[in-house]
């Protein structure tokens, strides 16, 4: 179903009754990433999933957004639907929104669940800064002939070599750069609500050492590792993930 938030048509799903769980998906993903885990939880929770602006069935941001804009958007969405989440769940990029939103108290929830969350990769942040610089240099250099003739090829090769989502971000590429340059380590330290961290030990997008760092940064957090799973642990092991969440909050 749809609603209008901050002038954008937004798709969301609202299913089940009970304590309210709000789920935020990752980059280049949509609310359906949580389909299987929602199926497990909706018999005892009200589960609300949202397509973040620019993804799934929601309209793209009207300008290049920063992480704070996404945080503000989630706040406005929750206000619009008069939802006070008991549990806020964020996967990957959705984890970034959760960390920043809860730490700055723009968002509130009684508990948070971070699944393979992005935002605390020291090494990656350095790499992402380099990427941002390269993107700027690349744009200038490839505007000048003869490099301009091979602009697309140069960019494609460069970003493929770096292994970045930047090239694939299309219209959201500047938004992507804005988001990845923020290290959320200092914000994670400010989180004081009960936090569950779920990670797959074979995650190669946000490797497990990032989960460990997050666990160290968030006081009193619970760290659950699911063996044999990758970055989309909630899709690979929906029953286990739902069980861990249920046990954590009930």
């Amino acid at each position: 179903m749809h609603c209008i938030v901050d002038g954008l048509a937004v798709e969301y799903e609202d299913i089940g009754t009970g304590k309210t769980v709000v789920m935020l998906h990752g980059w280049k993903n949509n609310l359906h990433t949580f389909d299987a885990v929602t199926l497990q939880l909706s018999n005892s929770f009200r589960v609300i999933r949202i397509d973040l602006p620019g993804f799934g069935g929601s309209e793209p941001p009207p300008a290049d957004w920063k992480l704070d804009d996404y945080v503000g958007f989630v706040k406005d969405f929750l206000a619009k639907l008069d939802i006070r989440p008991d549990i806020l769940v964020g996967h990957s990029f959705g984890g970034r929104i959760t960390i920043k939103g809860i730490a700055t108290k723009v968002l509130t929830a009684k508990n948070i669940v971070l699944i393979s969350s992005a935002g605390v990769a020291r090494r990656k942040t350095f790499k992402n800064s380099i990427l941002a610089v390269l993107a700027k240099i690349g744009r200038v250099v490839t505007a000048i002939p003869p490099a301009s003739l091979w602009k697309q090829e140069i960019r494609r090769k460069l970003y493929e070599a770096i292994g970045s989502d930047y090239f694939r971000a299309g219209a959201l590429s500047q938004t992507f750069l804005n988001i990845i340059k923020e290290d959320l380590g200092s914000f994670a330290k400010d989180i004081s609500v009960p936090t569950l961290i779920i990670w797959g030990d074979e995650d190669d997008t946000t490797p497990i050492h990032e989960g460990k760092r997050l666990h160290q940064l968030i006081r009193g957090s619970k760290f659950q590792v699911i063996k044999g799973s990758g970055h989309f642990v909630h899709q690979e092991e929906p029953s286990k993930v739902a069980g861990i969440i249920r046990e954590f909050v009930l």
Partner: protein, 406 residues
């Protein structure tokens, strides 16, 4: 070999669906026929026009950076000199004369008659419904008004404009309150079920109205039908319409929304609407006949030609049939349905082109101009040429004007 332009994309929420329809089945069939020099014409979301043979491949539009690639290309212009030509301006200018156009547009600025008006001005044959039928069918409110006037059953409804909603919301709510729940709130001009919300309780109405107003400035609120069966019927032809098979989509949970219509197929190469339908619909022979008769009548009333699809709601207990809307460019031409009715993609696509050319030739025999001496009778200075001297003695030269001539 004839030159054909397939026009798709456009400033519409159904932009992406239009790209699919253009390629599956239109362009792939045209190329396979080896009878046409096929020029894909892509209208970007910002309204820019592009053309190039690489766009004959659907894969081109699957590239994440295809919009950036196009932004570096030369935009095309249109020339209406002796028909339609695509023109690449500049130093190395080039032009291609187009013999026939296959519009593959869904929604606003395309399917709504805008493109048909442009092509009529250009004087080029084009496939599908003409301007008037397209414009009326694109407006769900107008469609209902025209059909109701002709005795076709439509569900009770109310409509209002965005301005009325903003200025007189109490009055608008009063009109809506006369309708029975559940309601369907719809943007009047959008297809593919975009912006449509089912309202089961009054508290859901406000959000539904906000969503519809986000997409359109004219809103239709309709009563739902109890014991609902939804069916759809593709029809083609001009004066003698031919119906395909009555089709019953099965993937309607709460509402047959955009995802239900286009995203749930998952069948490679199937185009839009390729799965989750019962064809022919399991509604019995009598009801099937009734739907087909009513569909053909609707096709004729709206003045459809080429191809269209009529959507129906049926109360399965009372067997009452309502027409809900008419779509003048069915997604992927509903080729999956035609195929089941024994019409191959080749027969469908080439048949529609033949109809377009026949209609164009028939229109040539209609006289659209009329020779009169009205200009010489109107007041003001005259050249005095051709029609002899014009002065006070031959008309109201100083005080009359057009009104006096009537």
């Amino acid at each position: 070999m004839k030159t054909i332009a397939v026009i798709f994309g456009g400033r519409s929420v159904e932009h992406d669906v239009s790209i699919i329809t253009a390629h599956i089945p239109i362009i792939e069939t045209l190329i396979a026929s080896q009878k046409f020099d096929v020029w894909p014409v892509y209208i970007a979301k910002d309204g820019s026009w592009y053309s190039g043979k690489k766009m004959n491949e659907l894969a081109f539009f699957k590239q994440p950076d295809f919009e950036e690639q196009l932004a570096r290309e030369k935009k095309i212009q249109l020339s209406f000199d002796k028909g339609l030509s695509l023109v690449w301006p500049g130093l190395m200018s080039k032009s291609v004369h187009i013999d026939v156009v296959f519009p593959s547009m869904h929604g606003t600025f395309g399917e709504d008659g805008s493109l048909m008006g442009l092509l009529r001005m250009a004087g080029v044959p084009f496939v599908g419904c003409d301007m008037t039928a397209s414009a009326v069918a694109m407006d769900k409110v107008l469609t209902k008004q025209v059909l109701a006037q002709e005795g076709i059953p439509v569900v009770p409804s109310a409509w209002f404009t965005k301005r009325e909603w903003l200025d007189e919301s109490a009055q608008v709510r009063g009109r809506i309150s006369k309708l029975k729940l559940p309601l369907f709130v719809k943007p009047a001009h959008l297809g593919s079920s975009i912006g449509i919300t089912k309202v089961k309780k009054q508290s859901e109405l406000q959000n539904a109205l906000e969503v519809a107003i986000h997409y359109d400035d004219k809103i239709l609120v309709e009563e739902g039908v109890e014991n609902l069966i939804e069916v759809t019927l593709p029809i083609m032809g001009d004066d003698i319409p031919r119906a395909a098979l009555v089709e019953r989509p099965l993937n309607r949970a709460e509402l047959f929304d955009f995802n239900g219509k286009y995203m749930s197929g998952g069948k490679k190469g199937g185009g839009a609407n390729s799965a989750y339908s019962v064809i022919p619909a399991d509604i019995g022979e009598k009801l099937t006949r009734h739907v087909i008769e009513m569909g053909k009548k609707v096709y004729r009333i709206l003045g459809c030609s080429g191809i269209a699809r009529v959507d129906f709601l049926i109360n399965s207990i009372t067997k009452k049939v309502y027409v809900i809307e008419v779509n003048t460019m069915p997604g992927s031409l509903y080729h999956h349905n035609w195929k089941k009715d024994g019409v191959s993609n080749m027969e469908l696509v080439l048949g529609l082109i033949k109809m377009a050319e026949d209609r164009f030739n028939a229109q040539k025999s209609t006289n659209y101009t009329f020779r009169s001496d009205i200009l010489n009778k109107v007041g003001g200075p005259s050249t005095g040429a051709d029609h002899g001297p014009v002065g006070p003695s031959t008309g109201p030269a100083t005080t009359g004007g057009p009104k006096a001539l009537l």
